[in-house]
């Protein structure tokens, strides 16, 4: 799956029950993200940006439609297969880093590698390399409580990329950071996209953050445009 990792969302419907009401989040939504793109998903709250990210990451299933990554349709995978797929192909960076407080930065980054067949030395080498990439090698033996917010997020990015996934899904990665630190993190993501060809899909409310992306999708206008096309087609 490493060569072609285009993300295709095809005729996606997503709704959920809230009491007696059915809330429709996405109705016949289509999107293609090319391999190697850095896409920023923007728009007002409640439009389903995070939901899209979860659908791409296999954390959630669409009510109808298809989610295809590369040549693999993932929306109908069994949980065990989906878990494995995620482990090998997708990295996550959330607004809150969710690092394990009992492990050092190095230990947290090694965590996803516990699922691989790498031996201890190889795991350490991979983790060190990831730490180096995010500029945190000198903090390898620090525990999360000993790191600043920006440093924690860097470690979280290192953890997301250590198993060399092709896709990086970032949900408000700079939401909790000050401007300067946020810029550093965004520059790091842009570097990962530019130098290592990672496909990055980032949900953000921040226009400045979106400037780092190669494509910005404003979900509100995108959906409107899609609906107009669809109406036009029907006419």
């Amino acid at each position: 799956m490493k060569s072609n990792n285009d993300i295709i969302l095809k005729n996606i419907n997503k709704s959920y029950q809230k009491g007696d009401n059915t809330v429709v989040v996405h109705d016949n939504f289509n999107l293609t993200i090319k391999s190697g793109e850095f896409v920023a998903l923007m728009g007002p709250s409640g439009l389903g940006k995070s939901t899209l990210l979860h659908l791409i990451g296999g954390l959630d299933q669409p009510t109808a439609g298809e989610v295809i990554i590369g040549e693999q349709r993932i929306d109908n995978l069994k949980q065990a297969n989906l878990t494995q797929f995620r482990a090998h192909n997708i990295g996550f960076v959330f607004q809150s880093h969710h690092l394990l407080p009992v492990l050092t930065a190095q230990g947290n980054i090694e965590l996803p590698l516990a699922l691989t067949s790498l031996n201890k030395k190889e795991r350490q080498q991979h983790a060190s390399y990831a730490l180096q990439l995010v500029g945190m090698i000198d903090r390898a033996n620090h525990y999360p409580k000993e790191l600043s917010g920006g440093q924690e997020q860097r470690v979280a990015i290192a953890r997301a990329i250590v198993s060399d996934p092709t896709i990086l899904l970032c949900d408000e990665p700079t939401g909790n950071l000050d401007r300067k630190t946020a810029d550093e993190i965004l520059a790091l993501l842009a570097q990962l996209n530019r130098d290592f060809g990672k496909t990055i899909v980032m949900v953000t409310h921040d226009n400045k953050a979106a400037n780092y992306a190669s494509r910005v999708i404003n979900l509100e206008s995108y959906v409107l445009e899609q609906n107009n096309c669809s109406v036009g087609e029907h006419l």
Binding site: S45, S50, D60, Q84, V102, P112, A114, R159, D171
Partner: protein, 386 residues
């Protein structure tokens, strides 16, 4: 960093909670192991008893006597190999604090029926020829420094002699040893003939008979024959196997096995609730981390394994500490309690039971957290509201 490292680190995340729970586990297993040792002491006589021997006593009570001529009548029954008899003396040495298990026995064949007492042949013959002779256990000989030929005065709390005294004089004629450590090596036996002649009353009677049968398959028939034989006599009998008899005697005081089972059930039920609660709290506190690990590609099974190992570590540490402490205690007090709890020890099989209990408890304590882990929805737990 591997999963076991993570289990270890997670276990000690809340040190106070971990150690308090661990101590409660330790206390439970300390109690369980100690009671198991006591139970062994009370039941070892049952398991060591002979499968071919029956005990016959008065139907009303052990304290009622039976005529000595019952011996010949039972011996004449088919499938009976030998019959011997005995009476309880209720003896002590010097003062009543030094209680001894003293029994008057038929010197002609008692040790043929009870061949687990190993007595050198010359000493046995010596005892049979010495009217006031006693056979004592090796343990008693060591305790009081008695040796063959020593004159030993013993007193009875029940039997007065013809002189109007409760003091009887004996001579050590033989010292026996037993094959197993659990057998009491502090018993005293003397000739029933001397007892019968010497006592002030109840001549020609005894307390119980021991019948050795030819084949074990005859046990029910012989029991029936003996009790039928005396059914309409002045002194009707009740016959049981030796095992049943010993068990009934022990149960007169307390059904230890039942007490132990009840204590163990109560303790383990409480323990399970405590450990379960700890593990449920644990998983609740780490819901976000579990969701993140699932997002990273850890399956629910892997996370549940981690919780199981954490429970196992907690229970294993507590159980090991509790069992070791109880074993040390029993080793330490074995000598001092040997008089009333001979054979108190921990059977090796007990540790297998502890091992099994720890594993089963760990599995049980992982059930609720497993349910919680299985139902974590990553998108809801970690997801933004955008």
């Amino acid at each position: 960093m591997n999963i076991l490292t993570l289990v270890w680190r997670n276990s000690f995340r809340k040190k106070m909670r971990f150690w308090l729970t661990c101590i409660s586990v330790m206390v439970a297993f300390f109690l369980f192991t100690t009671l198991s040792g006591v139970n062994h002491a009370l039941t070892s006589n049952v398991s060591n008893s002979n499968q071919y021997r029956l005990i016959t006593s008065h139907k009303v009570s052990m304290t009622q006597s039976l005529p000595i001529n019952y011996q010949q009548k039972i011996a004449a029954l088919s499938n009976v190999k030998r019959v011997t008899y005995a009476s309880w003396f209720g003896g002590y040495f010097k003062n009543e604090k030094n209680q001894l298990a003293v029994t008057a026995v038929d010197h002609t064949n008692y040790f043929d029926v009870f061949d687990e007492y190993e007595i050198p042949k010359d000493q046995l013959i010596n005892w049979q020829k010495t009217r006031t002779g006693i056979v004592i256990g090796q343990g008693l000989a060591q305790k009081y420094g008695w040796k063959i030929g020593d004159k030993v005065p013993l007193s009875s709390s029940i039997w007065m002699n013809k002189n109007g005294s409760f003091n009887w004089s004996f001579t050590v004629s033989a010292i026996y040893q037993t094959e197993t450590n659990s057998g009491d090596s502090k018993k005293v036996f003397f000739q029933h003939a001397y007892f019968d002649k010497g006592r002030a009353y109840a001549q020609n009677s005894m307390s119980w008979l021991s019948t050795e049968i030819k084949k074990q398959k005859h046990v029910d028939d012989v029991i029936h024959d003996i009790d039928s034989l005396f059914e309409h006599a002045n002194n009707p009998t009740r016959t049981t196997t030796e095992q049943v008899f010993i068990k009934e005697q022990a149960q007169q005081f307390v059904d230890m096995a039942m007490v132990i089972n009840l204590v163990v059930i109560a303790v383990f039920f409480t323990l399970l609730l405590i450990v379960c609660n700890t593990m449920i709290q644990t998983i609740r506190e780490r819901k976000n981390e579990s969701a993140m690990m699932k997002a990273l590609g850890f399956s629910s099974t892997r996370l549940i394994q981690g919780i199981y190992f954490e429970s196992l570590l907690l229970l294993g540490l507590g159980a090991t500490a509790g069992s070791v402490l109880a074993s040390l205690l029993i080793t330490f007090v074995r000598q001092s309690v040997n008089d009333f709890l001979p054979g108190i020890t921990i059977e090796p099989s007990h540790y297998l039971t502890v091992f099994a209990l720890v594993n089963i408890s760990a599995a049980f304590c992982s059930v609720f957290p497993a349910f919680a882990i299985k139902h974590i929805v990553i998108s809801e737990t970690l997801g933004g509201k955008a």
